[in-house]
Symmetry: C2
Subunit: 223 residues, 2 copies
Amino acid sequence: MSGAETKEIILDTAERLFAERSFASVSLREITAAAGVNLAAVNYHFGSKDALLLAVFRRRATDLNRERITLLKEAEARAGDHPVPLREILAALLSPPIRWTRQRTSGLSVFIQFMARVRTDGTPEMRKLMDKDVGHIHRFVVPTFRTLPHLPKDEIYWRLHFTLALMHYTITDLGRLEAISGGLCDLDDTDALIERMIDFAVAGFGQPVQGGAALEVLEAVSG
Amino acid sequence: MSGAETKEIILDTAERLFAERSFASVSLREITAAAGVNLAAVNYHFGSKDALLLAVFRRRATDLNRERITLLKEAEARAGDHPVPLREILAALLSPPIRWTRQRTSGLSVFIQFMARVRTDGTPEMRKLMDKDVGHIHRFVVPTFRTLPHLPKDEIYWRLHFTLALMHYTITDLGRLEAISGGLCDLDDTDALIERMIDFAVAGFGQPVQGGAALEVLEAVSG
DNA sequence: ATATAATGCATACGCTCGCTTCAATCAATG
DNA sequence: CATTGATTGAAGCGAGCGTATGCATTATAT
């Protein structure tokens, strides 16, 4: 096995285990045993456990955001001079991570769960990783302002926050839905799942502002 | 200091630390040091670290669900023979944990974050705790079926899932919203926050079913 | 007041952790 | 084939972990 192959196997295994359990509860011995490599390989190739976590993150994070931005730019191109329909902005934001989650063959799937864990595992290493990801959201805030000019900006932030909630919770706790519904909900149709989620979010954006009606937004929302 | 006092202090401190960081990354030495008690006190009063986690959970979980059920029953009483307005069902489900989160003086606040961590910390101990909480949701599913008889049941499950997402994400990641919005959003007005969240969810419930319109639900939703 | 139980405290055990060391092995090069 | 640099393997280090033990201290009850 070449050195590069060893690195990849370690990254894959660590990504999977970190996605499943908390950073502190996964030991290097467990990772290396599952990966079939020597214990010392992690420190040789990555330097430390913390650095391994960072490497897992780095390997895929840029890909994900690139995919989102590509979708957003396509939507902007389609819109021309007009504001981008909200539905398409949200689709660019939500569909890549959801799709990644659900293509079971690829390592991208577990990476999304890994990301979700990073957001909730309160260790300092995790928080550092999280902060690297805040800036990308702003790229989606700006076109949303333009699409929904009648909504106060703080209201848009709130509703984007709730939209991210849908995504985040769906990624981490879809199994819970299966348990609650007794298997009634079809979790395998990814496209339908994304549509459902976007429908829900778009409806949330379309509601009038608290304390005052703003029905104009309904037009912009439906694009 | 009496034995009961010691137990309470340990529970408070453990609850806080477990809310902040992952179960595995918080050591008994850290807990007992922060609590100002002896290291052996945990094993004396609770038996083990796992048992301490369980005790933290037990102490408050019943209170939370009792409060939710009380609100739901009040809403049912007000409704009489009519279906309970969706808004009130969701308020009963969402407002207790959100209120608990935001009353900074009380330990209830950190307990909600503790619960949120339990849901995402993938350790086996945590999963056991999670499973204890599934059943309570069903109490809210049934009246929702009755209020929205035109919606397919799986659709209701989906939208309840999304609603729980709003709650969960808001509890865990409100700081993120503050960062993204640059402090624009007012996070201190709890009532307004709850209203916003319920508005968003009600709007999501009010949308027509995928592939077909069902405008009747709009009446039921607004109650 | 004295006996008895409950609790607090300091310490230590056994274990696993992340990390290091150093010799063995492999691959490529001259 | 010998040499060299990169990688792997096995063993072990000190530190921190959860837990157990033994004894001091305090509270309770007769």
